[in-house]
């Protein structure tokens, strides 16, 4: 049996209906999904991250319900060294 598709696996244009821009990169995803599912693809503890959809911060408590739609601009950020 084939393993399940990684949520961010780029699939063929015939199958995909959803293109979102993640951190500036146009990315095709299997379907519209919640922020929570989208974040499952990132191997960083969720409390190290913040998410923005269309320039609005998504609060942590809304990850399970906030849907990412076709054409959305998503930013996933963390903290890095800086002055």
């Amino acid at each position: 049996m084939l393993p399940p598709l990684h949520p961010l696996t780029i699939i063929s244009h015939e199958q995909s209906m959803v293109t979102v821009t993640i951190n500036g990169e146009p990315t095709e995803i299997a379907s519209e999904m919640t922020v929570e599912v989208l974040l499952d693809t990132v191997e960083v503890p969720p409390n190290y991250l913040a998410v923005e959809v269309n320039s609005e911060v998504v609060r942590r408590e809304d990850y399970a319900t906030k849907m990412v739609h076709d054409g959305d601009r998503v930013e996933v950020v963390t903290l890095v060294g800086g002055g």
Binding site: G24, V42, P45, L49, A50, G83
Partner: protein, 289 residues
């Protein structure tokens, strides 16, 4: 080389902690976490600096590069107040977005810095000097939205005054361009800023931010009356960052102590330290005037 440890702790803070908004810091040195060769070197340098507040930047997570180290694995959020910055933003809109993202991360860490932001809105990528108009707009909006804004600005007294008026919790004039190591270029302007912002409000915190090259720059900032100094590159790019971090800690203490102690006025002529009576010598050159 053997180093004789002092019998008493000479790094004791000279005065009560520095109050910035609703927070109190015990060290008056705030250090950045960027530009270190390794995370371990950064961690040890922060420790050596004695700082209890460190700045961090908000950046895109590298979604497709697994297993990278995260800075939060090397900074204990229980030990340090994290001060997220808006570095690299060139518009008030982007700076406000970065501030909100930083707040979201810090709130999940339970860090007291969550309502803090070091606001930085740049106007020019070569000098890294701030855009005053955009900085004022962003400062006013963030303050209205409940942020305690520690606001990076140039050494212009007019801009500094305006930032305080629109709600900055602290104004942070630059000594010289970020990362330039030129020290404090216009101490007259810094003195005017200190006078303006502390007039009728002596506890308003003014933090000298950016441009520090070495320890004497830090001492000078405190001797002028600055409440704190924020620096990064001078430690991170020193040949020995951990040793330089120690030097900066001592420079901050020296400068602050000297400021509190009060310097003597400068005089054109010398005044003898030893008694003038009972000298066994005569004055051969007739200089009795």
């Amino acid at each position: 080389m053997a180093i004789v440890e002092p019998a008493v702790d000479d790094t004791e803070q000279p005065d009560a902690g520095l109050r910035i908004g609703t927070h109190t810091l015990s060290s008056r040195l705030i250090v950045g976490t960027g530009r270190y060769d390794t995370m371990e070197q950064m961690r040890d340098s922060l420790d050596a600096s004695g700082a209890d507040c460190v700045t961090v930047a908000v950046r895109r997570e590298r979604l497709y590069e697994r297993g990278g180290k995260n800075i939060l694995d090397f900074i204990d959020p229980k030990r340090y107040v994290l001060l997220p910055n808006t570095a690299g933003c060139y518009t008030s809109e982007d700076a406000i977005r970065a501030a909100n993202l930083g707040r979201e991360i810090l709130s999940s860490l339970g860090n007291p810095g969550e309502d803090w932001v070091k606001l930085e809105v740049l106007g020019d990528s070569r000098t890294l000097l701030p855009n005053p108009a955009e900085t004022i707009v962003a400062c006013e909006k963030l303050a209205a939205d409940g942020f305690q804004v520690l606001c990076y600005t140039s050494d212009c007294p007019v801009t500094a005054k305006r930032l305080k008026e629109v709600g900055a919790t602290s104004v942070m004039p630059a000594g010289s361009p970020i990362g330039s190591g030129q020290g404090l270029l216009n101490t007259n302007n810094l003195r005017i800023i200190l006078e303006y912002l502390k007039e009728d409000d002596p506890d308003f915190p003014v933090i000298i931010d950016a441009g520090v090259g070495t320890a004497s720059d830090v001492s000078e900032a405190f001797e002028l009356g600055g409440d704190a100094v924020l620096l990064n590159t001078a430690i991170a790019h020193a040949r020995d960052p951990i040793l330089m971090a120690r030097a900066m800690k001592h420079a901050a203490l020296a400068g602050r102590n000297a400021y509190l102690a009060g310097r003597i006025p400068k005089r054109l002529y010398g005044t003898a330290s030893s008694p003038t009576e009972g000298v066994i010598s005569t004055r051969p050159y007739g200089s009795d005037a």
